[in-house]
Symmetry: C2
Subunit: 560 residues, 2 copies
């Protein structure tokens, strides 16, 4: 299949003329169109359908973002190197078969395991170094001189977390609010060897839904609760279960997560993945991040085995809280009470009688700045630092105290929880090709659905003469003008041209022959059945539309 | 304007909660939609309209690509640093007013100029370092261990040059053939201070048209040769001139370049740039790359002065030839002669009688390898190295000679020339906002054209009660379902809601009031004239379509 992909312009190994780089691919014209079709359908479901806001953030991000997110400390793999030929390996991959879960081992444990089993370089049988942790983010530096350390984002998600306040404000300060981003992300794999499944530069479609921590119901859930999905829970046996039952029985943790599991399934079927080769696998408790309350992966069965395409997780308040902690920014939502509540709480009380003599004309400004300091940060302190007009001022404890006071509150600040559906575009694209690929004798057909097929219709004249080419070109131009990705071809036998179109997954072809000149009809051919019928030339567009949306060829009214 | 952009969700300074990073911006929901609309229209013109192939290459690229392209050696700016506060400056910017063209000075010359004029740090008056060259590519490393040096692409163009053979093959080996790419590019600016005009991470839309070096005519040029464009040639005075005349007089070097100058102008007017603030400026001979035969910039007059948005250049064979030279790959097209030509040319003749005894069973393979060596590389050599089955073999001169021989050739290899229209998406977006921004008293209107406006129509109930909200929501839903980016708003006075829509450039608004319930009509309001008319509810979609495509409100048939 990869050879077909290369030959037909879906995928090219990147920088091939310079020997290539592992884990980097180009999308050729057909691949780029297929990818755009996948992304556009996703955008339709999430942005138009569910009201998420699409934003677009930079790829280069400064270090503090990833200190907060945890990537700087924990986004790493173990790597070992051959001391004689320099080949690099992922340590846990070398330990396959020697341990149940080598990814959980420490550097020392893994080193001992490899040494005890006499593991050597697979290429030259040389000695291997001890395993070391290798951070998988691509590192760079921003600005001249010393510059600032920065990384290429390992996921698009952080752009949405750091912008929570902007997103919330844009939605007029209401929860739930969702944002999405479609774009590149990077992972400096030690030794990528699985084509599109493990890329160093890949494409993500991520949605972050910010919700009230205490309300994980979802109004639209009622429309999908009877839908049956193939679930593989982390306890109990795999089964196809209605979503309503899954939530009731606690198999899926809440309605909102279950709804986005459903939306993911709908997306997968819409773009044409084979339902018989799809399942939702729940993360094992040991596999789940400690803060996540539930996580389901959409997996597809492809040449590489069952492979994760999408993850749908309830990440709790982890991400937003991490950025609050590291940036001191107020990334909260405001929950307005139905009626004001009287509560007793700590506040910083400013003693203006002490402040006046010390700070004179600035006393008012210093006092205001003091009043904004969180009580927790002021309690028991001997002095506090504030900034007034860009100047740092140290204020002694004689000027403030932390007291308890009864106040009427109209609401409270809450840190939102996050539901995150995260889609790997390249893996979805690869799985689509894998599921669409069919071979009968030497004839290859890509059974791509009309929605995603990069070319929708081939248009051919039987012969490139006698005016047949002119008619075919007119049909081609009018289909193109109507927005169909059409392909005109007048070279080689008709059989050869059909075969070429089958290979790139064009759902139908239209052929102009000598009868067209006499009775105004053309032949339209359906890719999957290879059946052909004659229709009137003026009905070509309608017929193409019908075939693209899945109608059977025989349903076309041939008389019209 | 930037404050409006931030407040209304067009642009946010990136990583604001961590103090931000100069030259990095987020596109908020409205900015991302505006950007997508610009890109989609460009795609329509180049891909659907002109038949360019869209591809998508990685951002991370290995060093040899940029050794070949010249970026490694020449993509740099002069930088100086304050020895006391560490602030960094572009050397040529500090020398403004001290020299006519400081960018042309050497490090030493610039250093002397700054010292002689007593230039100090603008921030703290500290001493500055001597100017040093700083390469503007972001550097990183691919893979664990030593890794391989790599860079973030400074332009999308290289991805198309290195893939010329793939692109040419996909077009069934015919010239001309064009490819485009829309995506991120990076430039590690020393000190970016002009908002969207000088970004460290930006968006490009680039087209590379590969053409026959001896044929720079263009069939479609005849359709545009009477179009008059505002030209600023590098000799002679600025004037509005028909393109046909410009080519005849040699003002623009050839038809194909002139055609893409026109297409760029058409694009600019389509998306709504103000023709009174546009011009095409020809590069000065000193400013043009030595290999370019002509180059025109589309410039727009904006708050920062005349600013380059697009460059359209005839780059000759430079780019493809550079990659041939550095990679040894055969990036040529094949020109088939009308009939075979007999030519005398040099060939490497293998002497099998000498080869046999030396290489025995391998003689045939060694001979075949010798035959593939270009005659120029073999001429006068005492020995040649060839590779057979992965083994390096040295062949003495007794085994080959370079002779002249007559051969019948069916064609010849040619290195294509490249016409490159290169568009800066962010600058175009900024110029659109600049040209669209109008302020009357305190009322701000963005006069964005319907084609690019991120929100196409606002839908309001006069009051959020008495069923008016239900009717308005129905209209909103039906417009959304028909693919219009609609915005529903039921809060605040109607005047306030119109003002909000004017500020984000929504071309029209539809309001449901009590009359709607009795006579089935709604009010539709045109943004630019503030005029309103009543139309039948069932005609809303048609009316919105008409206003978006530029019809005047009064042209709507109010009776229908």
């Amino acid at each position: 299949m990869l050879s077909l992909c290369k030959r037909r312009g879906f995928l090219w190994p990147a920088y091939d003329i310079y020997g290539g780089v592992g884990g980097l691919y180009d999308y050729g014209p057909l691949g780029a169109a297929l990818k755009a079709n996948i992304e556009n359908h996703w955008r339709k479901l999430y942005v138009a359908g569910e009201g998420f806001q699409e934003i677009s953030c930079p790829i280069v991000a400064p270090e503090p973002v990833f200190k907060a997110s945890g990537h700087l400390d924990a986004f790493s793999d173990m790597f070992v190197e051959c001391t004689s030929c320099g080949e690099t390996y992922r340590g846990d991959h070398l330990a396959k078969g020697l341990h149940d879960n080598p990814a959980t081992l420490s550097e020392a444990q893994l080193g001992k395991l490899l040494a005890d089993n006499g593991v050597k370089c697979e290429k030259c049988k040389g000695e291997l170094t001890s395993p070391r942790r290798f951070n998988l983010m691509f590192k760079t530096s921003v600005g001249a001189g010393k510059g600032k350390v920065a990384y290429l984002r390992p996921e698009t998600a952080q752009g949405m977390f750091v912008n929570f306040s902007q997103i919330y404000r844009h939605a007029r300060e209401k929860l739930p609010v969702g944002a999405v981003q479609i774009g590149r992300a990077f992972r400096n794999e030690i030794s990528p060897r699985q084509g599109l499944i493990r890329l160093r530069e890949f494409n993500q479609m991520e949605a972050e839904l910010f919700i009230h921590p205490d309300d994980k119901r979802w109004p639209r859930f009622k429309h999908v609760k009877n839908e049956k999905l193939p679930l593989v829970p982390n306890s109990g046996k795999p089964q196809t279960m209605p979503l309503g039952e899954a939530v009731e029985k606690g198999v899926i943790v809440n309605e909102v997560l279950a709804y986005f599991v459903w939306l993911t399934y709908k997306f997968a079927l819409d773009v044409g993945l084979d339902p018989a080769r799809l399942r939702f696998r729940q993360h094992e408790r040991t596999e789940m991040a400690h803060y996540a309350s539930d996580c389901w992966d959409l997996e597809a069965e492809i040449g590489y085995g069952w492979t994760e395409l999408v993850g749908v997780a309830d990440r709790g308040s982890y991400d937003v809280q991490a950025h609050i902690d590291h940036s001191s920014a107020d990334l909260t939502a405001f929950e307005r009470f139905d009626e004001p509540k009287e509560v007793e709480q700590e506040v910083v009380k400013v003693k203006f009688d002490a402040l006046g003599p010390l700070f004179k004309g600035k006393a008012k400004a210093v006092g205001d700045a003091l009043g904004k300091i969180p009580p927790g940060a002021a309690k028991g302190k001997k002095e506090l630092n504030v900034e007034v007009d860009g100047q740092k001022i140290t204020v002694p404890a004689t000027c403030f105290e932390v007291i308890r006071r009864k106040e009427k509150l109209s609401g409270r600040k809450i840190v939102p929880h996050v539901i995150e559906p995260s889609y790997g575009v390249d893996r979805i694209l690869y799985a689509l090709l894998d599921h669409a690929y069919t071979k009968k004798e030497d004839h290859v057909t890509l059974r791509l659905k009309g929605l995603v097929a990069p070319v929708k219709v081939g248009v051919f004249p039987l012969m490139a003469k006698d005016g047949l080419d002119e008619i075919a070109l007119e049909i081609f131009e009018s289909l193109s003008a109507a927005g169909f990705a059409a392909h005109y071809d007048d070279s080689g036998s008709i059989g050869r041209r059909y075969a070429r179109m089958d290979e790139i997954g064009s759902p139908c072809c239209v052929t102009v022959d000598y009868d067209t000149k006499t009775d105004g009809t053309v032949t339209i051919r359906d890719r999957d059945s290879s059946e052909q019928v004659r229709i009137k030339r003026e009905n070509v567009q309608k017929a193409v539309e019908a075939l693209l949306s899945g109608s059977a060829l025989k349903s076309l009214d041939k008389r019209s």
